[in-house]
Symmetry: C2
Subunit: 454 residues, 2 copies
């Protein structure tokens, strides 16, 4: 058993952990980062990155098919084996070697193994004891949640991990859960030729987004041949070669594989929280500095603090935690359900800040303004004739945009303008002078502000 | 001869004229709009719209070819006749009927013919005399400039009008002028199979943009097989079946057709400016309200005032002029060379505010920050491996972004975020909290601000 000292120990080397460790290293501190699996984490190998590698090829083929002159060039079909090979490149065949230089360039030491807090500022990794002079940062992320449905675990279901790394395309794919993972994978695998059946217990898909976003994604998936069953709960699953799922109030469905995509389980069970009088399995409660509410030397970022389960927000929290540990002033201006977010289906759903529902709940005095995302000159060239809605919520008391949701093909890159407007609290009168270039689809902003009455 | 009264008479029904007329009509005024050719103007029929109809199909095919899995689906070739047919749809076969309802819905009366100012608040159109109770707005736009080169006019050159509406693709196309029209048409017609030779008198293409933008467009055009000759002035042109162009200090070049794209000539020669003691052929000088500096009842918007020759800025000026005529407070916050602008080549060039050159000239204390446009996770899926640079100029005295230039495939829609940042003068400290969604290419903002030192 060896005992080693660092300034900061980061447990978990996903995107959030990497960012906090790298930034602390750049700040001159001696940092260790503890990882039990892959440097780069769930996002790089089993989530954001491979899912986008699967989604982008059908996306661009569909867009080309919408454009006369280009459509004729698309005389072949999507090459699914080539898509999967490219996906393997993107995830480096599950080898994290390429992730190491970024950390070592910043002087961060990688410690392989499971990190477990054993007391104030101490972390055990196997036989080693690491001691932090300044802080321990929990960045352990989350695992897919397997709900306690009779027979489900025995049916060996896929989670995001298996489906994003699969080498084969099931003939018939059942998907349990109509959240982001569920709709993205329904989109990709229907494009790859799977017969997809998607089951959602609630009344609509991607239920945290505006109802029109749920509708657009629902309609697009159905148009691709996905069978969608909403308002039906799975009660039992059995595998006998094929997988059969019993549903409450609906006849059973059968497929060759089942994807479970009903949420995440935070990885805070086995990291020693009990040793410091915190509850294992719960989010580590933090202040806006990312510092634990219970221990000044403890920080938690990313999924582990339970605030918002999005890679970019975990990285943002990583920057905040690092700056706070380095003694710089920090501020948290984007958090929780109001964070910017993109769902990479076709149409994409890109949103930031409030939806109508959260705004009403927060008691905001908002006016809703809505235009067609492609209802301008740019829309005749881009995402042509595809459905799409751009909605902003204007906070009438403050004269700023409190939320925005855009749907439409490839509309994700257009979100950042809204993010700046919402997070920067840019007054509507100033946005009016930010003239969108003609003919880009960004003229949706002009139409929105005109509709508002400017 | 009939005499009719209106509140406002607009001369010229291009985008700027339409916007001012429509907004005044919505404001309850009685408005006439005078047009000698097509309602919708140069932009709708001979410039922005048909050129984008020509550029978008090769663009999306090139993007699909960059993406493994999608590339295999693109087993055919661009269908040029289909592109031209779609272009014809976009320009409605040069029929402006579809433009009329937008104006009539707003109570705007269309008067066909050439408008000529005959005195204070009076405009003659053929035998009719129109009298304006409040204002006359000049929105007459511009025509392509044919420079006085020996033999050029006799060689019956194409201008933007002929090339954007052509039914045929020349085997060998000469282009005189490496500005926006020249590079966009070189891009499109090389994709259509023309052997293109582009001649630019200056040292580089699109000379008002950052040097790296010129380079990226130059390299991309050469990679498509375009022959580019810079620093050579045309001295004479002759047509004898083929067109031959003599160049200063370079051997002559020959093609089947020549496109002249060396600038614009303002349409203020024949609109009666002499009758109100203004100089025909010159821009109509205006204040920031778009009101003539010489006559309170006269306004000029769009190309006619010479401030900035971009459709979206003409429309912006139209909104300002309308509001001022309606007695509302107005403000001009975006103007001239600092206006947002997009060049739709592949790579696209999107910019707003200062370039390094204009910032130095203006004596600003700027720091330049630069990253690869695609050098982030989103870049592995989008515009993959294609060159691109994202540069911002930070005004160190004010802590805001004073200018931004992005190059990269399809980067045009990403400009609006920069436009909001620049025009809205959003402090860098606030931009830092506008978190780009992962994995979108918008993370270029994160990289830029990190590189700056945030």
């Amino acid at each position: 058993m060896s005992r080693r000292e660092f300034d900061v120990i980061v447990i978990g080397a996903g995107p959030a952990g990497e960012v906090v460790a790298g930034r602390l290293g750049e700040g001159g501190l001696k940092v260790a980062i503890v990882e039990r699996h892959l440097i780069g984490g769930e996002c790089s190998f089993y989530a954001c990155m491979p899912s986008k590698a699967l989604l982008r090829p059908p996306d661009v083929v569909d867009e080309a098919r919408r454009i006369p002159g280009a459509a004729e060039a698309v005389s072949g079909e999507l090459d699914v084996p080539a898509v999967l090979r490219r996906r393997d490149e993107v995830i480096h065949d599950l080898d994290d070697t390429s992730m190491l230089p970024w950390l070592s360039d910043r002087g961060v030491e990688v410690v392989r193994g499971s990190g477990r807090i054993t007391g104030e500022r101490t972390v055990a990794v196997g036989d080693d004891e690491l001691v932090a002079r300044r802080a321990v940062v929990v960045a352990t992320g989350s695992d897919p949640l397997i709900p306690p449905i009779d027979g489900l675990r025995e049916a060996e279901p896929w989670t995001n991990r298996e489906i994003t790394t699969t080498k084969t395309v099931p003939e018939r794919l059942l998907i349990l859960g109509g959240g982001v993972v569920g709709v993205e994978m329904a989109d990709a695998f229907s494009a790859f030729g799977s017969q997809v059946t998607l089951v959602e217990g609630g009344e609509r898909l991607i239920a945290h987004e505006e109802p029109f976003a749920s509708e657009h994604v629902h309609d697009a998936l159905e148009a691709r041949g996905v069978r969608i069953i909403t308002g039906a709960k799975a009660t039992a699953v059995s595998r006998n070669g094929a997988v059969t799922m019993e549903l409450d109030g609906h006849e059973p469905i059968t497929g060759d594989q089942v994807l479970v995509a009903v949420g995440r389980s935070l990885n805070t069970r086995e990291i020693g929280l009990d040793a410091i009088r915190l509850e294992p399995g719960k989010p580590v409660a933090v202040r806006d500095t990312m510092q634990s509410t219970a221990h000044d030397w403890l920080y938690a970022i990313g999924d582990a603090n339970g605030r918002v389960l999005l890679t970019h927000m975990g990285k943002y929290q990583g920057r905040i935690a690092a700056d706070h540990i380095l003694g710089k002033p920090v501020e948290l201006r984007s958090d929780g359900a109001l964070s910017p977010r993109v769902i990479f289906t076709d149409p994409q759903v890109a949103s930031v800040g409030h939806t109508e529902a959260t705004a009403r709940e927060a008691g905001l005095n908002v006016r809703i303004v809505e235009v067609g995302t492609g209802a301008n000159a740019g829309g005749s060239f881009y995402g042509r004739n595809a459905p799409g809605t751009a909605r902003i919520l204007v906070d009438e008391d403050r004269g700023v945009v409190a939320g925005a949701t855009f749907t439409g093909p490839d509309i994700g890159e257009s979100l950042h303008a809204a993010t700046i407007a919402v997070v920067g609290e840019v007054p509507l009168e100033l946005l009016w002078h930010a003239v969108p270039s003609f003919p880009t689809r960004s003229e949706l902003w002009l139409r929105l502000l005109e509709s508002y009455g400017l």
